[in-house]
Symmetry: C2
Subunit: 272 residues, 2 copies
């Protein structure tokens, strides 16, 4: 057995991202600055924040008129009614509310504080904005992955590097979009996957025997969340953030999956 090893590398000097920016190009530029080339099996982990910014998921709070429901909820939990209006717009419903706390189910089905809405700022302006989650993080991940694979393809074709059809298509990478979420029962946040492409988020070991030939009992592992959490170790290390992490050497289930596959069905969820 080759030594099992995984490497995480952060792309440095990623510029501030603005609506309309091409994240594929930003990732490719970042890779080039690090003299890195994507390899088969790599995972490109991107924080939600830059995806949302690139996709223009920004709401200027000065343009928001809170509904009666937002005014009521804002008063109950002590938050800005305009922000609560945006949060409600992003949500299917309120899971828990308490002073300063709104645990929501997002439009996508994720359970998180404030439906993932962050008060943010636009560089160089005084505008107070709300940054919302991408409309469809799985689709965002697919677009990034498609762009990366296309770019890898053309490079391989142009440079005639390993230009057999199989090798030209060799960089089968996965893309994960992460957000940092609080958890029930445990303090502080961890990075989790809210969008994936090129992979299934859950590794399924059901039916596989353990070392004594017994069938394994712990059987399904949230591999996409492990990858996201691992990337979180690096992405928070610099004050300016390191929003793009490349993970090499991890084992993940290939396929055309979605992060939504990790959502626990309501009828199997004991904590709603």
């Amino acid at each position: 057995m080759e030594r099992p090893q995984i490497t995480l590398t952060a792309l440095r000097d990623i510029p501030e991202v603005y609506p309309g920016d091409d994240l594929v190009q930003i990732i490719l530029n970042g890779l080039e600055r690090e003299s890195l080339t994507l390899e088969d099996g790599d995972v490109v982990v991107v924080t939600q924040k830059i995806v949302s910014k690139a996709e223009g998921c920004l709401v200027d709070l000065s343009t928001v008129t809170p509904s009666p429901r937002a005014l009521e909820l804002a008063a109950a939990v002590g938050k800005d009614p305009r922000l609560v209006e945006v949060i409600l717009h992003e949500s299917r419903g309120v899971l828990r509310q308490r002073e300063g706390v709104l645990i929501m189910e997002t439009r996508h089905g994720w359970i998180c504080a404030n439906a993932g809405v962050d008060r943010s700022n636009v560089a160089g302006t005084d505008a107070e904005v709300a940054l919302t989650l991408p409309v469809d993080p799985d689709a965002s991940a697919r677009r990034i992955r498609d762009g990366l694979i296309q770019a890898t393809h053309s490079v391989a074709a142009t440079q005639c590097v390993a230009a057999t059809p199989r090798d030209a298509a060799a960089a089968d990478v996965a893309v994960i979009i992460t957000d940092s979420h609080g958890r029930a029962w445990r303090l502080a946040t961890v990075n989790l996957a809210i969008g994936v492409a090129g992979m299934h988020p859950i590794a399924d070991f059901r039916g596989q025997p353990d070392r004594f030939g017994y069938t394994l009992r712990v059987t399904t592992v949230a591999r996409a969340d492990e990858l996201a959490a691992a990337a979180g170790m690096l992405s928070g290390q610099a004050a300016e953030g390191l929003p793009i992490i490349i993970i090499r050497g991890a084992d993940w289930p290939r396929g055309d999956g979605t992060a939504a596959e990790m959502q626990r069905p309501v009828e199997k969820d004991l904590f709603r």
Copy 2:
């Protein structure tokens, strides 16, 4: 800025662990087989399973007489009453129960299925045993860390390698003991920290400005859980399991902390 990079390495060929085995020696042997030396800042991640086995946290189910409470609960959820007796013994209480499911608060304060009790087996016997969590996983982590630091010390002293007092004590490592837990709202398990030594589990960024000089809003990160989840990417990759992972290059808060610092106080927990 040096390229931010983290490497995870699994120690191969870790033997089956038996009660009384010396985990420090097992880790040192594993490092030697990989020609690895612990460096300052490394994190040694160990699965709960081998810690529990080494500490003899095994209950022979044939010796267990279920209490009336265990019989009642076992009937309600359809589990082996002897196993439920062990689970109750390991628990402060039941959080949720349903056919086939027991979400417990363990003696230590962790919320997890079956109080972390696994039906297991003892190599070479037919005995049906229950493997329980270590009595005090933080203390287990401290013992392992103390042993590793002592060993590093003596090696440095003996070999006169960088034998200034400062360098002889240079391998300041953290130790994390992990268990794989299910989560509310999300399917499948992730590795989490249930014991730590040499670190605080939570990285606190409160008050630090972001790139525009605003104060960061997401402020505390469960670094020990990120490290544990990262190790989980590797430890599940082989059928026989890779119970010891070395993480190099991660940033973690040094100090004499405990994993219990991550337990959300009941009064701040909205999901009990």
